[in-house]
Structures are given as C-alpha cells and as structure tokens.
C-alpha cells in the first residue's frame, strides 16, 4: 500500500518535472513565433501579450521585401550544402578506413581526428582568417565552404566510425570470398548498409554549418554575402526594425534545421551523437 502511494507520488513528480522542463524549453520558441506575427502597434502597447491580435504578416513581408534577407538565405544554403557535401565525402571514406582497414598509423590518425574535433574555433578563427585572406578567399562564400570542413569533417568522421564498426565484418568478408575487392566490398555492401548513417551525419554537418556564426562574422564583410546567423544579428544594432521583424527572421532561419531534425531525432535518441560519446 505504502509502496503504491510512493510510486504514484514519484510518477506525479516525474510528470511535474517534465512539464516544467517542457515549458522552459518550448516557451522561447512559442514567443518567437507569436512575436513574429504581432503588429508594431501591438508590440508597443503590451496588449494581448501572449497571442497576436490580429495576426499579421507585415514582419515577414518587410523582411523579404525590404532587406537582404533573401540573399542571405541563398548564401546560407550555398555554404551549408557545399561544405556538407565536402565533409560527407571526405568523412565517409576516412571513417571507413579508420574503422575497418588495417594499416600503420591508423590508431594515431583516429586520435588526431578526434583531437581536431575538440580544438575550439575561438583559437583557430584568427589564423584561419589570415590564411583565407592570403588565398584571396576573404569576403567570399568559397572561403566559408573551405573553412567549415575544419569542424564538420572531424565530426562526420568520428560519428561514422562508430556506425561502420556496428556493421558486421562477416558481410564484407563474405563479399570478398565471392571475389569482390576490398573497394568493391565497401562500395556494394558496406556503403548501402551505412546509407542511413551517412545521411544522418550529413544532416548533422548541414545543421552545424547552417548555425555557424564566428567564422561567418569574421570572414565576410560584404553585406550581400552574409550568412543568415550573421545577417540576423545585425538587425539588433539598427533599432529601426522592431522586434517582431527580428523574430520573423529567427523563425525562417530555424525552419530548415527543424526539418533536418525530424529525421535526426531517432538517431539522437539512440545516442548516436553521444555515440560519438559512447562510454
């Protein structure tokens, strides 16, 4: 009897904690969305605080019509897609080699890749900027596409090493006994099996590149060439635009990431990210 009461109390406490966490997590997003639909006047007058009345699309219209937001969106897509393709290609091959092939220096390379992943951008951004300038790539999207693999490649490699390791070696051996070369076995047997993992890694890389702020802030000075996060942050300084306007930009910037996330969720829950962290 006492045990059951206790269990009920614990269950209730669990739901209470969950609800509290959920409110804290979801509210800023709700608030962003609601603010983006409010009119300038409603925003100032503090009326009907928690919903738009009436809901208007003025902010979105202004954002797309009167600013460079559209161009920034394009820039972000170019940079994120470009650097993701580079990172996924390099990372997939590297991860397979580091996870499966036997060659001298493999363990060292695996460690070096991991350590590279851990070196923070706050140390690298100045010398990288100097390097990008020397190559004549400062103030260009190419410079960002070239720089982003510094963090996406180690990440993709590390993530996929775990994935390749989880595919049974026997499948590959069977293919090789049937006459496939090592490369043939990789291309025809392992790669198709690893496809969902590769896609997940690519989407993670895309998300990281899409969200990147520091390099984009430092490398790009031309207003038209900004990426979304940097462009969005410049709206703060001009008090010309209201908050609703800024929040409309925030909503549109978040959308692609949320789309990627709906696919990624099960991998995250299965601890693949942490599986880079599996202990």
């Amino acid at each position: 009897m006492r045990v059951r009461v206790l269990a009920h109390a614990q269950g209730a406490a669990a739901y209470a904690i969950l609800t509290a966490l959920l409110l804290v997590v979801a509210f800023p997003f709700y608030w962003m969305f609601v603010s983006s639909l409010k009119s300038e006047e409603q925003m100032r007058s503090l009326t009907a605080m928690f919903w738009p009345s009436p809901a208007v699309l003025d902010n979105y219209r202004q954002l797309l019509g009167k600013t460079d937001f559209g161009a920034w969106y394009g820039n972000s897509i170019v940079v994120a897609v470009g650097s993701t393709l580079v990172a996924t290609a390099i990372g997939t091959l590297g991860a397979y080699a580091l996870a499966r092939l036997k060659f001298a220096g493999r363990a060292f390379m695996a460690s070096a890749t991991l350590i590279t992943y851990l070196v923070p951008p706050s140390i690298l951004f100045i010398p990288l900027y100097a390097q990008i300038r020397t190559l004549g790539l400062a103030d260009s999207l190419t410079g960002l596409v070239a720089a982003y693999p510094s963090f996406t490649v180690p990440f993709v490699t590390w993530l996929l090493m775990g994935y390749f390791e989880s595919i049974p070696v026997e499948l590959e051996e069977a293919a090789m006994i049937d006459g496939a070369t090592r490369f043939g076995a990789f291309r025809r047997v392992i790669l198709p099996l690893a496809a969902p993992g590769v896609l997940a890694a690519a989407l993670f890389a895309f998300t990281q590149a899409w969200n990147e702020f520091l390099y984009a802030l430092v490398f790009i000075t031309n207003v038209k060439l900004r990426t979304l996060p940097v462009g969005l942050s410049t709206f703060i300084t001009g008090d010309v635009y209201g908050w609703g306007f800024l929040m409309a930009g925030a909503v549109l910037t978040t959308l692609p990431v949320i789309a990627a996330y709906t696919y990624l969720q099960k991998y995250m829950v299965e601890g693949l990210t942490a599986g880079s962290v599996k202990g």
Binding site: A14, I17, L18, L21, V24, V25, F29, W31, M32, I90, G91, L93, G94, A97, L98, L101, F103, A104, R106, T116, L118, V119, P121, S122, I123, I126, P127, L128, A130, Q131, A147, P149, S150, E165, W210, N211, F213, V218, L228, L232, S233, I236, L246, M247, A250, T253, V257, I258, Y261, L264, Q265, V269, G271, T273, A274, G275, S276, V277, K278, G279
Partner: protein, 316 residues
C-alpha cells in the same frame, strides 16, 4: 595483347611481389586503400587545423597589426596579459561562466534523463521537444532571449511584474552587473542541458534491468539504486559529457557576443569575446591570439583526457 606486367621478366615480377609483401607487412594489409581514403582528412587537418594552430602560436609571440608584417616579441604578450586587469577579469568570468553553466546543465540533464527513463506516456514526444534547443541555431536562441530579457517590452519582466506580481518593477537583466552573468549562464544552460539529458538517457538504457531488480531484491531504496547502480554505470558518459561541455562552454562566443558583448562594464567579458574585440576592434592580432592561447595548456590537458575517454568507449 600482353599487358606490360606480363612482359616483365619473371624474376622482376617476383621481386616486385616481394616488395609489396614487405610493404604490406610493414604498413598493414590494407595500406593502399587505407592511405588513399585517409589522405583527404590528413590534408584537411594539416591545412585547416594544424597549420593555423602553429601559426597562431607564432603570431602570439609577435606584435602584429592587420596588414603589417609581424614583429617578434617573444613572450611579451603573455607577460603583459598576466598583469592586465581586463584580461584577469575575463579569465575569472570565463571560469564562472563555464563552471556555473556546466554545473546546472549536469543537474538538469540528470533530471531530464531520470524522468525520461520512467514508464511515461508519449515519451518520444517529450524527448523530441526537449531536444530542440540543442539543434536550433545558437544565434536564434540568443536573439530570442535578448528579446525575452528586454527591459521595457520583454516578456520576462511582464510575467514577473504584471502577471505574477513577484517584483515591484522590471529588472534590466542584461544591463545590470548583478544579474547579467546569471542571465547569460541561463541561456547557455537552456541550450546545452538537452545534450546532457540525451546522453545520460542513452547510457541508462544500456544498464541491464536485472541490476535494478537485484538491487531492489536486496532492499535498496530508489536513492540507493541511483547511487550504487545508475551512477557507477554512467561514470564514463558523465566524465565525457562534462569535459566536452566544459570545452564548448569555455569557448562559447555566440551567446555572450549577442547578448551583452561582454558588458555591462566587463561584467560578462569572457576570453573568446575579448579575443575578438582585441583582434577586430583594436586590430592587435598578436595580443588577441595570446588571449585565446593563454589557457591552452589547461585546455590541452582537458582535451587529451577527454580523447582518451572517448576512444576507450567502443573498440576505438
């Protein structure tokens, strides 16, 4: 038509095979494909990480302005920084920001994982929503909170003053030295705790149910089961997640840059933001890199310990 290889004298062919066997013995059986596949990573790591890193160390020992060649000054930048009040404050703030954030993330993440391992309804829904801050762009989250914290129109003051009547009047969360640090820590925690939670949850799922049953049979209370079954099993994951988050938080630029730019009056100034300001505000690159690298020995120690733990997991 004979291929060139077939035309080789038998002795030479044998010698070549002997050489490739020797290579294979020295470099491992898959060395050709292995080096081919790893080569792009090696080039990339050398070009984008190792070289800039070495160059950073060199630059930190020079006096270097934008567009002017560097002048060697040895450890001057580091010595000067050591006695610089602004720098000392930024170091202190960086530690407060990091340990404050990581501590709270650890607690909230553990709470999140513990409630999500229970038999609850709609678990995947709860988990899905709780993870969103971790994937949302940091700039977006920082801007959301800038708006929430706003003194005159922000919803936080509105809730506390007009709805719940907890405060007589609004607080300038980011503009008062007393609340600014706690406010930026809160944003970092909000963004980072789901990563702790999801990692702990994955670790808890791997603990065999029999261990809990055995503990329950032995009469262990819930708290004892947590202390003696859950915590020991999670030890590796906890160490990894805490160290990983320590590195990320210590080097977090975006949140503080967007919310306060280090203000008010340096109350939230941390090393990455100070580095940026000295480099691109004052244009003193050598000194800026010295700021970024000052904590390198400590950071390198953390990175090496962390890399060991991460490689220990699995067969790596």
């Amino acid at each position: 038509m004979a291929t060139p290889a077939a035309r080789l004298p038998a002795a030479a062919a044998l010698r070549r095979r002997g050489a490739s066997v020797a290579f294979a013995r020295a470099l491992g059986p898959d060395y050709r494909l292995g080096y081919l596949f790893v080569a792009p990573i090696v080039v990339l790591v050398l070009a984008l990480v190792a070289y800039p890193f070495g160059y950073a160390i060199y630059l930190s020992m020079t006096r270097k302005y934008v567009g002017v060649p560097p002048v060697w000054v040895g450890f001057d930048n580091y010595v000067k920084l050591t006695w610089d009040g602004f720098f000392q404050r930024a170091v202190y703030n960086s530690f407060i920001f990091t340990f404050g954030s990581v501590g709270v993330k650890l607690l909230l993440g553990m709470a999140m994982a513990l409630v999500l391992t229970r038999r609850i309804r709609f678990r995947s829904f709860w988990t899905g929503v709780l993870l969103i801050p971790w994937v949302a762009p940091t700039v977006v989250s920082a801007l959301n909170f800038l708006w929430i914290y706003d003194y005159s129109l922000g919803v936080l003051n509105y809730l506390l003053v007009k709805v719940f009547h907890v405060l007589p009047r609004g607080v300038g969360w980011l503009s008062e030295p007393g609340t600014a640090m706690a406010s930026v820590i809160a944003v970092n925690v909000w963004r980072g705790f789901p990563f702790f939670g999801i990692s702990f949850l994955a670790g808890m799922k791997a603990i065999p149910a029999e261990m809990y049953e055995a503990a329950a049979v032995d009469g262990a209370t819930a708290l004892q089961r947590f202390r003696h079954v859950t915590l020991p099993a999670l030890k590796n994951i906890i160490v990894i997640v805490v160290l990983l988050s320590t590195i990320w938080t210590f080097n977090d630029f975006t949140i503080i840059y967007i919310l306060t730019k280090g203000g008010p009056g340096g109350a939230t100034q941390v090393l990455p933001v100070l580095t940026y300001e000295i480099a691109f505000g004052a244009q003193r690159l050598g000194e800026a890199i010295a700021v970024a690298l000052y904590m390198l020995p400590a950071m390198a120690a953390v990175i090496i310990v962390l890399a060991r733990y991460m490689r220990k997991g699995g067969a790596r």
